[in-house]
Amino acid sequence: MKRFLLAAAFFALLLLIWDAAFRARIWSPVLLPSPWQVAIYLNSAAVDGTLVKATVITMRRLLVGYFIGLVVGLPVGLLTARWKLFGDTIGTMALGLQTLPSVCWVPLALLWFGQTEAAMLFVVVMGTLWSVVIATETGVRNVPPIYRRAALTMGSKRLHMWFKVILPAALPFIVSGMKQGWAFAWRSLMAAEIFVTILTGFGLGQLLHYGRELSAMDQVIAIMLVIVVIGLLADKIFFSPIERFLHRRWGTSQA
């Protein structure tokens, strides 16, 4: 409770500083709207449905792309860890492509797929995929050989070995790869939505873009806040519980 109060006080203080800066008129109110104006925009956008619609569209693109990236990335990571041939070829390619900032896929996606949902999806998948492949491969390669040997003596083989020993042993690596993939996918999707107008649906990135076009700073800041909150929620709801479980089981942290 005390921790919560301190955190709440911290954010209240941020708001106060923001408000004070607005009142001091150091910058033009066009460039720095008051927290209140942002709140009014958020409220009206929530009431007329634009915000909810944009959030749903963005989250759908993100989740579908992320899911595809995971479903493809995990087995590919296992293959590259298991067979040298795959490691030397696909593994090397994954390592190279992972260093490519995922927003760099946007021009290519545009030319290949045009201004379509497919282009958005492609960018998200590319953001996710390579991180998951690399993390899975690293995780599997770092499984202490003694786990395999112990499992072998108890009669574990092939699929059982993969699913009951190697994958769980590699889990800490895989989860951190999933988290990185999520971050990359989220960033690249926002970049794509800001760059590219897609007529089949306006996402949060597009709202941000039009906020800039209209010089509607309250809209820009409000959408940025929404994006931050979504990122925080994803972390708190999805990744934190998994990480807490891993820390508790593996004993890697006191938290």
């Binding site: 889990l171 089981r249 593996w250």
Partner: protein, 274 residues
């Protein structure tokens, strides 16, 4: 009533004391690629272990005793020669011969109970209830019933090795292979485990091959102590230990045996360096 009776009988069947295997190691050789050419880890080693015998392999590190153990386990293949367990050649690992490693190779993603269950789940024809009963039995045998829900990292070194022991015993193997299982423990914990392992060995009747570099430990546990010489790895000398059990590691008689074995071990060192 009838069903309940049958159910109980299958757990007792699973916990039944089965005949331990005899092992025959015939002319086993094994070499590794070293930094300066091949190293002969084992040079035509032959050895017989009787059913239910407790044999200790002693030697300096790098003398091939762990390689010997891995070959008996089926984790490594010999270059030549063969290992027979109850007359059948060993070609791969099998749950008839379970290994307890120096580092407790427990799985951190499972709790204590899950670790003991792991090998049982791989055993066919065991109902869930039976598996659980068997796991509970062995956790009690090693004195860790209270910790079945604990995570591995919460256990002390000695407790981890007790869980390893329970995990190795649970599938009811005929042979237990132990690779310096107590080397990383403090003296007090070790002494406790010497008593426990002798008791469990007596209660569960296993053939045990125990690798160690601790001479006293070998004399305390083994029916026979085999001294390995390094480069190339060979069995140099054999010491039958004829002391009543349970043996106390601090007893004077035992010290006599240990002194003789240590002397022989030092003699080996001299010829090797001189």
């Amino acid at each position: 009533m009838h069903r309940a009776g049958r159910h109980r009988s299958s757990v007792t069947e699973e916990l039944e004391i089965i005949a331990p295997s005899k092992l025959a190691i015939e002319n086993v050789s094994k070499s590794f690629k070293g930094a300066s050419g091949p190293v002969l880890a084992l040079d035509r080693v032959s050895l017989n272990v009787a059913e239910g015998e407790f044999v200790c392999l002693v030697g300096a590190s790098g003398c091939g005793k762990t390689t010997m153990l891995n070959i008996i386990a089926g984790l490594e293949k010999p270059d030549s020669g063969r290992v027979l367990a109850n007359g059948k050649p060993v070609t791969s690992p099998g749950r008839e011969r379970l290994v307890m490693f120096q580092e407790p190779a427990l799985f951190p993603w499972l709790n204590v109970f899950g670790n003991v269950l792991f090998g049982l789940k791989l055993k066919p024809n065991l109902s869930k209830k039976n598996r659980h009963d068997v796991a509970k039995y062995y956790l009690e045998l090693v004195g860790l019933s209270r910790f079945e829900r604990a995570n591995i990292h919460e256990l002390s070194g000695g407790m981890k090795q007790r869980v390893s022991l329970a995990r190795a015993l649970a599938p009811n193997p005929r042979v237990l292979l132990m690779d310096e299982p107590f080397a990383a423990l403090d003296a007090l914990t070790r002494e406790q485990l010497y008593g426990d392992i002798q008791e469990i060995w007596k209660a569960r009747r296993k053939t045990i091959v125990f690798v160690t570099h601790n001479v006293r430990e070998a004399a305390c546990l083994g029916d026979r102590v085999l001294l390995f010489s390094p480069h190339p790895g060979r069995i140099q000398e054999e010491f039958p230990v004829e002391l009543p059990r349970p043996r106390d590691i601090n007893s004077v008689d035992l010290a006599g045996y240990a002194t003789r074995i240590t002397k022989a071990l030092k003699g080996l060192g001299k010829t090797a360096t001189g």
